[in-house]
């Protein structure tokens, strides 16, 4: 049984959604600190541009496309959940998860290729930031994918449909982080 506190809504924003916005605010400062540190190093090291030329723009672009599409699936899932169609919502979440899994697989293939060519995390500052920032982001993708599994399971049985929107908001945020990581790590050369 939920406590009475959880059912109240003095701010007129549903409790779960309010919490997820605060989670995102704390994520903004985590990624902000890391990307800010990267940008100031990048400006101090013009030579990193030549290093960055070794990243594969096409793979990065493909992964952007995958995440954008999975974001579309997440928002369609939210739409279905709003109409109370749990099964349809679960299907769309399943497709979002497929996007997350594709992203992770492409990422590991990309890293495998790079590491086997000698571009390891210790090679220079650019590669250290490259693996750390993309790694932290990939961790969010994997965590989101796992959580979506639970939510899809519930939604399929018509339970806790409000969570479909919450994971969607989180997933769009992960998408936005990647939207900025893509030019920072792949395009600016």
């Amino acid at each position: 049984m939920k406590p009475i506190a959880t059912t109240r809504s003095a701010s007129s924003i549903p409790t779960g959604r309010l919490a997820i916005w605060w989670v995102l605010a704390s994520e903004v400062v985590i990624f902000g600190g890391l990307l800010g540190s990267y940008i100031m190093h990048r400006l101090g090291h013009p030579e990193w541009g030549e290093t960055a030329a070794h990243t594969n723009t096409w793979i990065g672009a493909f992964n952007t496309l995958v995440l954008l599409t999975s974001s579309l699936m997440a928002v369609l899932a939210h739409d279905a959940a709003e109409q109370g169609d749990g099964k349809k919502a679960a299907r769309f979440i399943g497709m979002t998860m497929l996007g997350g899994i594709t992203f992770a697989c492409v990422k590991s293939f990309e890293w495998y290729t790079e590491i086997s060519h000698g571009f390891t995390i210790t090679l220079n500052g650019f590669w250290s930031f490259y693996y750390t920032a993309a790694g932290l982001h990939a961790l969010h993708v994997i965590a989101g994918t796992i959580i979506m599994g639970f939510i899809a399971f519930d939604a399929n049985r018509g339970r806790e449909l409000q969570r479909v929107e919450l994971i969607g908001i989180y997933w769009h945020f992960v998408d936005i982080v990647w939207i900025f990581l893509f030019p920072l790590l792949y395009i600016a050369k």
Binding site: V28, S71, L72, H172, P183
Partner: protein, 293 residues
């Protein structure tokens, strides 16, 4: 019906996002720096705005939520503004980051390049090690990432009213730069001279005379390896033990730290052998021979 129009709206936004993605990939192909920056980061901002507005529904969320998110972004701008003036530069008040300057002048193009660069650093390190003989002399000659700056920066620090933090922050700049070449030495993976410069010279002095920048403040003074009396009073096994387990282990000052977890026995033997070359009684250097009675 309205659900249908909702999903069509979302698909339309997705299509715009994909078009923007294509533009941001094509942008750099023209090779204009500013065009690349605009297509890369300008479009990223537009994409983020579209996702936040249409997918996260921030447009119909309470205004307070927008303020919370804007605050967190603004705070990151503040962090950037306060930090970048120091981190973007490789030199500052009483410090230089030699390794960073060296890296920006000698970029690593391929993983293979790294070894070449490493060897280059190694030579520079050797040079500094050899010139360490004349006390503070190294400072001017080498532009390479050597320990050259250590003496001058540490001095600047102590002039500032003996600030330990002042000295602690910049001093390793040079010191550590020398630790790297240790692996590039001639001996199998170990260079006693470089190890001495990185681990010992801060107290014992680059010339081994017990007058390192940190050692100056210590009482009793750090051991003076140039003093023949030092070598008469000890055998190699005792010096080895002192390095491995610390000064307290042989009844000397506890300020001598134990190094057993950093260097193995063979490496410590190499360091002990290296220390002997400071001994003026051995007649290693001509000017020292002149001083001995």
């Amino acid at each position: 019906m309205s659900a249908e129009s909702h999903s069509r709206h979302y698909i339309k936004i997705w299509a715009i996002l994909v078009v923007l993605l294509v533009i941001s990939v094509i942008g750099p192909m023209f090779g204009h720096k500013w065009l690349t920056l605009i297509t890369a980061f300008g479009i990223a901002c537009v994409k983020a705005y579209l996702v936040a507005k249409h997918f996260m529904h921030l447009d119909i969320e309470k205004a307070m939520i927008r303020w919370v998110l804007i605050t967190s972004v603004v705070l990151m701008g503040l962090f950037y503004a306060g930090t970048a003036p120091d981190v973007m530069e490789h030199t500052g008040l009483h410090w230089t980051n030699d390794a960073a300057i060296y890296a920006s002048e000698n970029p690593v193009h391929e993983p293979g390049d790294h070894h070449a660069a490493g060897a280059g650093e190694g030579e520079a390190g050797h040079a500094a090690g050899e010139h360490g003989g004349d006390a503070h002399g190294g400072g001017d000659a080498h532009g390479a990432p050597a320990g050259a700056e250590v003496a001058s920066t540490a001095e600047a620090g102590s002039e500032q009213g003996g600030e330990t933090e002042e000295a602690a922050a910049p001093a390793p700049d040079g010191e550590v730069a020398e630790a790297a070449p240790a692996t590039a030495g001639a001996a199998p993976g170990f260079d006693a001279a470089a190890a001495f410069q990185s681990s010992c010279s801060t107290c014992h002095g680059e010339a081994g005379d017990g007058n390192g920048p940190v050692g100056a403040a210590l009482n009793p003074k750090p051991a003076n390896f140039t003093d023949p009396a030092f070598w008469e009073a000890r055998d190699d096994a005792m010096v080895h033990k002192a390095i491995k387990e610390g000064g307290a282990a042989v009844g000397k000052s506890p300020m001598m730290a134990p190094w057993g977890s950093t260097y193995d026995d063979a490496q410590i033997d190499a360091i002990v052998a290296y220390l002997h070359h400071f001994n003026t009684a051995g007649g290693a250097t001509t000017e020292a021979a002149g001083e001995t009675p």
